[in-house]
Symmetry: C2
Subunit: 312 residues, 2 copies
């Protein structure tokens, strides 16, 4: 029986997750490797990925056909080169695809993590069967990916899809990218933290936030408990996401918007704001028949998506 196994790898800032994914998008085996980017740099990253692949391949009776890697940053997918990455600031123009193809003797694809996640949703998840998709990944920041005519839109140099920096308000809060009022300042975790810190008061409930990473979950809980300020933050996040979706819908005429990433679990809290932002910033004839869906692959999205993007 042909199983068409691939290994998908989701490279984060402090760890990578590798998984053996079958033709149905099921993760059959997986492995997490801690990364110390500062200590090992390029060599550590290559060794970490190669080790994970080697262990998974040995444990797997069937043949692995290809490897797909998704990671945050500016990736030249055509050349398989990591141009720059927020998680590995010391790395520049690393030919990661070719180094790993050499180390593993398997075909390797390298892509932006948001492209991987959204492609996973198109092939196996919430946007299955949709050929024209605008996708957002809501995490620490906001990533994006655009699928047109059934293919990942990579752009002239493979760097397309940076929808997290679409300007929502030129007078808005400063973004790490240097601009003001980028989408990710409203709909990403760091943006939410900033808004909580800058003058928004949640009374003693704020004390319950153990760390920044827990903030979205906390905000989600208290919003569901009736906290108006927290509910307002989610509504604002939704409105910004709706405005960005509307502008890009007018430009691209897609049929589906997918919201993925960790914060997508709170999309129900953003939905009213999203609908308002979308309706305000797009033509009715372009919204006709548009579906807006939350990613269905959850925590496995990065691994499944990277495997789906792998070219065997």
């Amino acid at each position: 029986m042909e199983t068409h196994l691939r290994i998908g790898i989701d490279v984060g800032g402090t760890r990578l997750k590798a998984g053996v994914v079958d033709a149905r998008g099921t993760v059959r085996d997986s492995r997490v490797v801690l990364l110390d980017a500062a200590a090992h740099g390029e060599e550590g990253l290559v060794a970490g990925i190669a080790d994970a692949v080697s262990v998974l391949a040995e444990r797997q009776p069937a043949r692995i056909e290809a490897i797909g890697i998704g990671m945050a940053g500016v990736i030249d997918a055509a050349e398989g080169v990591l141009r720059e990455s927020p998680n590995f600031p010391a790395l520049r123009d690393v030919a990661l695809r070719d180094r790993l193809a050499h180390a593993t003797r398997l075909p390797v694809s390298l892509d932006n993590d948001a492209n991987a996640v959204i492609w996973g949703e198109v092939v196996f998840g919430a946007a299955r069967g949709c050929a024209d998709v605008l996708g957002f990944t809501l995490g620490t920041g906001v990533g994006g990916a655009i699928v047109l005519g059934g293919r990942m839109h990579r752009g002239a140099r493979g760097m397309a899809g940076e929808c997290g920096h679409l300007c929502i308000d030129p007078h808005g809060p400063p973004c790490a990218c240097g601009a003001r009022g980028c989408l990710e300042q409203y709909a990403g975790r760091v943006g939410l933290e900033r808004r909580v810190r800058q003058g928004r008061v949640f009374g003693d409930r704020t004390d319950a936030v153990a760390s920044d990473a827990d903030l979205p979950l906390h905000l989600s809980r208290i919003a569901r408990d009736g906290d108006r300020l927290a509910a307002g933050l989610w509504r604002d996040a939704g409105r910004a996401l709706g405005q960005a979706s509307g502008s890009l819908l007018n430009a691209l005429d897609v049929r589906c918007v997918v919201i993925a990433g960790g914060l997508a679990a709170s999309f129900d809290l953003m939905r009213a704001g999203f609908d308002e932002g979308l309706a305000s910033h797009s033509f009715a004839s372009l919204r006709e028949g548009l579906s807006v869906v939350v990613g269905a692959l959850g925590a496995d999205a990065g691994v499944v998506g990277a495997a789906a993007l792998a070219v065997s």
Copy 2:
């Protein structure tokens, strides 16, 4: 000798211009027909186009291969249907392509006017040879078109490219589309008029504006003469256009931005603002090697572009 003649038709609100265009993009013959949309509606439009084609074809010794039509509005290019048009508010879902193919016995293509103009610039004009292009047409409003991988991006339902309604500032001036702060409120003629009327004072120089249609030319003249307020309006228009270009560059990774339409003649006055807006709202690695050009086809752009889009 094979000349591959096509007829390109640029349908405006009060008149249409039809031209015989050869394989080099040269207009060999042309004809202007006044339209009375209110009086004749669909029949008048079809008859006006068919008459112009018939006269031009009779005067032309060589065979006409195809007809291309560009007009403002929501056009379903795949089906050849005019969904709605600001210039012909009474017309809805008119199968213009098939009606004209029947009347002229020639292959007919129907497209949005901005698509036609920008495609003309890609095939014969300022963006020649560029496969990934973001184009804006600055006229009464602002139109847009997107060329990806050497092909006009039409989107899922042929309605893509409405870049004039990308939101520049959610607190900005209201737009006819119902949203606030759309690009066309800053960089289109009607938007400029509004800004001039709403509290901006040009002293006695404003009296020189004979009609709204002359306003951009007037603003351009006095800005060149050193009028700071007029110069500021152009800079703001440029900044809005730069912001929109930056957001779409990040999303699409194009290599060229083309500014066409009547107001593009003042792009030199917008350029500083444009560069500022673009730099503030896009990643440096995406701007690398980007060319920003002004349309080269001038008043013939609509006719030449429509002919270039015609499929023979």
